[in-house]
């Protein structure tokens, strides 16, 4: 008896509304749950608290196992803004030794998201870092009174002595660029800033551990996410053993006191750097802790530039030490033979060109020319090479050949030492002269043959030459790290690099360098009981001459090659030779003889006044 209802069609409208609503909602769910990832990521950052466990940084030892750098606990004071209510601010400030103004400013900085992007009022934020132990113990006693404050344990670097600042380097907080470059780092992390701390950062830092904790809306911890399945323990950093000999390094730094300059010593058979001193230096212990940034600022403002590692960053005219390279490439190219003699009448005189020399017999062959460091000999050598149209089609080709030889000996480019900031020095080529001199000939560039003019080199490159001669023709890229715990050294440092010069010509160069010690310019380098080879350098510059020396010992099976460079030190024999000798003696004998010790003390106290020189 159902009667036809006039409005029964409206049931379709009503059902249609219901279907439409549910359809729209399902589409909305589709877009929320399947089409967008944002919500998932948001959820993770909501609910997960990632507690980072910091690994201990690797220790650093010298080549004999002496501990140089280690870690000591240091404490950061953390604050959770949400909980920090009603504390006695004055008492707090007094306890950790800050002013109330600093407190207010610091709190404002923490809350400022432009300075502290990860700010959350529910999580601990760094209030102050590296609290010294004395202040810390007082703070810990009173901690219960300071609601919202907590302690985070971190490790700070400590140095057993004040040596080798440039090699060891330091660590500091990461800057925004570091974070951008490597997402391992987060704000407040430490990173190596200089020295091996920087170049071996990846090995030293270890790997951070992680605890993923579940956090509720009030920031309370509710346990491990997925029962700790994704948690990781921190992996401690690897220890480094340097090739540096701490005693040798200490002596080197002593000898450079009051002077500007650098000393580098290399073990030729391995390329390991035995010592690398740069003066002036600084005590690495000042770049630690809360005062780091102030100390760093002071050092970087010092006009003597103590932060500069002159051994690898100083680009000096190599002076007469460079003559060895000229002898070698001249012999190899057939420009000269060991018997070739050139005249020297108090210098090189040709077509109105005069380049002075000191008094010695004339004409002389190669070995005595090296021994007495005859300028004329090497000027002739270069002049001949650049004018030789039988071997080389053009002057430019000869020049290119000359440059290639020097590059193969490690000049003109970075050697690749495992320290940051190495400079490449300067070896001019034909293009360079064409660009700068337009018209040029052998005479206009003749001073490069004696390591002057456009040629510059780092003390490390000079020492590398000594090591190459000691090896009779090859070198390993010099490096300061001998051993990384649990992993091997980069093969870069275990491969021989041969120069373009044959071994037999190196024998001639060795004889020349031996002659310099036995009867030439560096007689002062002689060490009783060893056949020392050496070469002085006296590099002219705007001020007083630079004093340089390079050498190695013993002549057969050399154990050490050394380069010394003292800015404005006068003749090579004045500072370069005695310092070089003391370094070799200390390393070869493990100690200095009584006389040598006295000599060391006297060198240590001879300071050079740099006030008048322009830097």
């Amino acid at each position: 008896m159902e009667q036809k209802n006039p409005f029964s069609n409206r049931r379709l409208v009503i059902s249609g509304v219901a279907i439409a609503i549910i359809a729209i909602y399902i589409i909305r769910l589709l877009s929320l749950q399947l089409l967008s990832d944002d919500y998932k990521r948001n959820a993770d950052s909501n609910a997960f608290r990632r507690d980072v466990l910091y690994p201990s940084r690797g220790l650093i030892f010298d080549r004999n196992g002496e501990l140089l750098v280690f870690n000591e606990p240091s404490y950061n004071i953390m604050v959770t803004m949400n909980e920090q209510i009603g504390i006695d601010t004055l008492d707090f400030c007094k306890t950790i030794g800050i002013t109330p103004e600093f407190y207010t400013r610091r709190c404002a900085d923490i809350k400022d998201r432009s300075k502290n992007p990860g700010y959350s009022r529910f999580t601990p934020q760094v209030f102050m870092t590296q609290i010294p132990p004395e202040e810390f113990s007082l703070f810990r006693e009173k901690l219960f009174r300071f609601r919202g404050f907590s302690i985070e344990k971190r490790a700070a670097r400590h140095y057993s002595s004040g040596i080798a600042a440039h090699i060891l380097g330091d660590v500091g907080e990461v800057n925004p660029d570091d974070i951008k470059e490597d997402d391992y780092y987060h704000s407040g992390d430490y990173i190596g800033k200089l020295g091996v701390e920087r170049s071996y950062e990846k090995q030293l830092r270890g790997e951070k551990g992680l605890r993923i904790l579940l956090r509720d809306v009030h920031g309370r911890i509710k346990g491990h996410y997925a029962d700790g399945e994704y948690d990781r323990d921190p992996v401690p950093g690897k220890n480094l053993t340097l090739s540096i000999d701490a005693h040798l390094q200490e002596l080197a730094e002593r000898l450079l006191e009051g002077k500007l300059g650098a000393i580098v010593a290399i073990e030729p058979t391995t390329g390991q750097i035995l010592c690398m001193a740069s003066s002036p230096t600084y005590d690495p212990r000042v770049l630690v802790g809360r005062e780091r940034s102030n100390a760093h600022k002071a050092l970087s403002k010092d006009p003597m530039k103590p932060l500069l590692n002159r051994a690898i960053m100083g680009m000096y005219p190599p002076g007469s030490t460079f003559k060895i390279t000229q002898a070698l490439l001249g012999l190899q190219e057939g420009i000269i033979t060991p018997e070739t003699s050139f005249p020297c009448s108090r210098g090189f005189n040709y077509k109105g060109m005069h380049l002075g020399c000191h008094g010695h017999g004339s004409p002389i062959p190669l070995v005595p020319a090296i021994g007495t460091s005859c300028n004329a000999y090497f000027c002739w050598n270069l002049y001949r090479m650049l004018s030789d149209r039988q071997h080389y089609k053009s002057q430019a080709e000869a020049m290119t050949r000359w440059k290639d030889h020097l590059v193969s000996m490690g000049y003109g480019y970075r050697l690749g030492v495992d320290l940051p900031g190495e400079k490449r020095g300067m070896i001019p080529n034909a293009d360079y002269y064409t660009k700068h001199l337009h018209e040029w000939g052998p005479l206009s560039v003749i001073s490069i043959s004696i390591g002057q003019g456009e040629v510059t080199a780092t003390p490390l490159q000079i020492c590398n030459l000594a090591a190459t001669v000691a090896n009779r023709g090859y070198y390993y890229i010099p490096h300061v790290v001998k051993n990384i715990q649990g992993s091997s050294l980069d093969t870069l440092y275990t491969r021989k690099h041969y120069t373009m010069v044959d071994k037999k010509w190196y024998d001639v160069a060795v004889q020349g360098m031996r002659r310099a010690v036995t009867g030439g310019t560096c007689r002062g380098a002689n060490i009783p009981g060893y056949e020392v080879c050496g070469k002085t350098g006296t590099a002219q510059n705007r001020g007083h001459d630079h004093s340089a020396f390079m050498g190695f010992a013993p002549m057969e099976q050399p154990k050490i090659a050394v380069a010394v460079y003292v800015e404005n030190g006068g003749f090579g024999a004045t500072f370069g030779v005695p310092i070089g000798k003391l370094i070799m003696e200390q390393y070869l004998n493990g100690k200095l003889s009584g006389g040598s010790e006295a000599q060391a003390r006297s060198l240590q106290s001879r300071h050079i006044n740099y006030g008048g020189y322009e830097r």
């Binding site: 009503i14 059902s15 609503i21 929320l32 956090r215």
Partner: protein, 484 residues
């Protein structure tokens, strides 16, 4: 009389859906109210344990309803309605204040919310009154009378500051529509919502080339189009529709072109002038043809324009600040991640993080860690979204849809008007709850605190829906027995 027992005649589809939804709801409460690692879902001390008791009571209630004689629903409805009104009047005085509202009456260990039961009683009385022979809702007086029955409890609940529960009573108008309420009323209501949303949302956005705002421009254009369309529906076979539509579009286009190309001005004035002309035109024809429809349409046009200019004022001056904020956040005018926007944002995060398959039972981090507020009551759907993912949450939506459509179908099948009206009321109430609650959780409707049927924790709500549904199933069963 074995086959005559109405309990065996209950519609098995509805019963199955009811049980399924209640089970899914209980699982969600376990997920929402427990912390990770909890395994005790049954003891009295936990929310899930209590809910289990409420479910047991509901099943008992359902069984009881299927046993009693259906004629009581009709005869007792007046008495029940009066009693309920009294209870609603007394409630604010008996109830303690909870979260700003006075709607819970404490009875020893349990509290009940009379508003949840009032829906059922209202549905009965409306069915009784509107179901009378010859009671036509197209008659304005009758409609007013029916509406009064609904608006009375609604007003009382507003006084308890339970705006959400009160709004549910609007769902009766869907049933009124089915029973013959003029469609123009529903149309006007929908039009008002559109004007409001568009007008407020784009009130500040300038229309390029003019001095008017996009919101104003679009709403005024819609008014002239709607008005023209109404003439087509109510005055068919007249040339008005074509004239008015082209006139409206043309005048607006010319005004816009003039403003954009020659001299910028506020083209809303032209649109308002056009609407004024429309009204005059309709009144002119109304006088000539003596047809009431013309006046009704003219009033629609006038009222719509007035509504546009008062809604903005109402939003900023009449509503309470937190309500204004909720509306502004919903419309995307304000970003408020700490206040009203926080809840919705967190619930979207929770649902969005569920992905396709969800994180699995008891693995939802957002709800477990209490990021989502009210997570086992109003925001319970978050737990479904997070732990069961897209598959689970759309399945729940489809279960609700099936249940609602089934109720409408059963309602249509009733031989008595009483049964049909009551059935439509039940379906509409359910639809409204699902529409508002889930819409709120997924950020499509304003945050209005009403429970999700069978899911939200709480006995009152569950019993309220059990009453609604099983009274209807009992009526349906009686109907089936009689038809046999």
């Amino acid at each position: 009389m074995r086959l005559g027992n109405p309990a065996f005649k209950a519609d098995w589809v509805v019963v199955t859906l009811y049980l399924l939804l209640m089970l899914a709801g209980w699982v969600s409460i376990c997920g929402a109210s427990h912390e990770i690692g909890d395994t005790d879902f049954f003891s009295w001390g936990t929310r899930s344990g209590k809910q289990l008791v409420w479910i047991g009571c509901s099943l008992g209630l359902a069984g009881f309803l299927m046993m009693i004689d259906e004629k009581y629903f009709d005869t007792l409805s007046v008495l029940l309605y009066v009693a309920m009104l009294l209870l609603l009047i007394l409630t604010p005085f008996l109830a303690k204040e909870i979260k700003g509202s006075r709607s819970w009456i404490s009875l020893g260990a349990v509290s009940i919310q009379p508003a949840e039961f009032a829906k059922c009683v209202t549905a009965l009385i409306v069915a009784k009154v509107v179901g009378q022979y010859g009671f036509t809702l197209s008659n304005p007086q009758r409609l007013l009378k029916a509406a009064a029955l609904v608006l009375l409890p609604m007003g009382l609940i507003v006084l308890q500051k339970e705006t959400g529960s009160a709004l549910v009573y609007l769902s009766f108008f869907l049933m009124f529509y089915r029973e013959g309420m003029p469609g123009s009323i529903l149309f006007t209501a929908v039009a008002a919502v559109i004007y409001f949303v568009v007008g407020i949302r784009y009130a500040e956005q300038p229309l390029p080339g003019t001095y008017s705002s996009v919101g104003q421009f679009v709403v005024l254009l819609l008014i002239s189009i709607f008005t023209a369309a109404l003439t087509k529906v109510y005055c068919p076979r007249t040339p008005h529709f074509r004239r008015l539509l082209t006139g409206g579009l043309l005048s607006t286009a010319i005004a816009y072109a003039f403003s954009a190309l020659i001299l910028p001005f506020d083209i809303a004035w032209v649109q308002i002038l056009w609407i004024a002309f429309l009204v005059g035109y309709l009144v002119w024809y109304g006088l000539g043809d003596r047809l009431r429809q013309y006046y009704v349409i003219a009033i629609f046009a006038l009222g719509s324009t007035a509504f546009l200019y008062t809604s903005d004022y109402a939003l900023n001056n009449v509503l309470e600040p937190h309500q204004t904020t909720r509306i502004r956040v919903l419309l995307g005018i304000e970003e408020d991640m700490i206040g009203a926007g926080y809840n919705v944002n967190q619930s979207k995060i929770a649902i969005g993080s569920g992905g396709l398959e969800g994180k699995g039972f008891m693995n939802g981090t957002q709800t477990k860690l209490k990021y989502v507020p009210e997570q086992d009551t109003d925001f319970i759907f978050c737990t479904v979204g997070e732990e069961q993912g897209f598959i689970g949450s759309s399945a729940v939506l489809l279960l609700f849809l099936t249940l609602i459509l089934r109720l409408f179908t059963l309602a249509e099948r009733q031989s008595s008007r009483f049964g049909r009206i009551y059935g439509y009321s039940v379906g509409s109430i359910l639809l409204f709850h699902v529409f508002i609650n889930i819409g709120m959780v997924i950020g499509l409707t304003p945050v209005i605190g009403i429970p999700l049927p069978f899911f939200s924790y709480g006995g009152s709500s569950l019993w309220g829906f059990t009453l609604l549904i099983f009274i209807f199933l009992r009526i349906d069963a009686g109907d089936k027995l009689r038809r046999r």
